[in-house]
């Protein structure tokens, strides 16, 4: 089973990389793009009996390692 974990900075945390990308896009004329937030994407091969267990495992790993809860939040997709 595959778990996809998307980690992003919390909305309250300033993302200077996202801001710089947005400014570059605006200077290129992409007026239709508003704010940009940069994040991280992880694919985990998980050995779990059910999608629920896979999600629980991915969630534990994200809490402990993949994301820093002080600055980041995450969401998980199971496939």
């Amino acid at each position: 089973m595959k778990a996809r974990v998307f980690v992003t900075l919390k909305p309250s945390v300033f993302d200077p990389q996202g801001r710089t990308i947005a400014e570059a896009l605006h200077s290129m004329g992409y007026a239709g793009v508003g704010d940009v937030r940069q994040g991280k994407y992880f694919e985990l091969e998980v050995d779990a009996g059910s999608p629920e267990k896979a999600r629980a495992l991915a969630s534990e790993v994200a809490d402990r390692v993949l994301a820093n809860p002080v600055i980041e939040s995450y969401r998980i997709e199971i496939e």
Binding site: L9, V13, F14, P16, Q17, V65, N68, V70, I71
Partner: protein, 236 residues
Amino acid sequence: MKFAVIVFPGSNCDHDAYHAAKHVLGHDAEFVWHKETSLKGAEVVILPGGFSYGDYLRTGAIAQFSPVMTAVRAFATAGGPLLGICNGFQVLCEAKLLPGALLRNKDLKFHCEHIRVRVEQTDTPFTLRATRGQVLKLPIAHGEGNYVADPATLDALESQGRVTFRYCDAEGRVTEEANPNGSLNAIAGICNEARNVVGLMPHPERACESPLGSRDGLVLFDSVVASLASSGALTA
């Protein structure tokens, strides 16, 4: 007095810290590889600067799980003086030994320069020989020193007097221009609630001898030596 300098794969200021402790101050110092489980009887522990684990995932994120960190955590919990410098500060935050986190510098640039910090608190083992308001000229060398914490944590740090160092200008004024990385409240260093764990982004160990442009970093080392001498040695 014995200093332990923890060495993670990718640490690159370990020798600077060792040199300051051993050759400048004349104390015993030992490197402790991250796979060790004992601090070899050290009375002061330093997590040095560098790029532990290549800064993979997040700065300091992987180092917090190194075997030696169990001993470091126990040392800190027992009240031992623990100093995290630059990447060491990032490791302390990831390990939750200090609150908050260090993000990419606001201007996205790696800053390698001398800056000034103001000593805000003199009741930590690493600042007791300094005077409150003293301005130190120290080098910084980091891309991710932008201190952030949620408003409640920031309030607690301020109300409990745990902001140990703040970026300032040569006259000790905290200004936006003097803040090299966008840190909230111009925070350059903090301590834990028990005040024995201190982390800072600037490099005091690289400012202990005149040829290096400043000797202002010596006060941190002198302080911890004085602190241990007065309290009776505490052994890990």
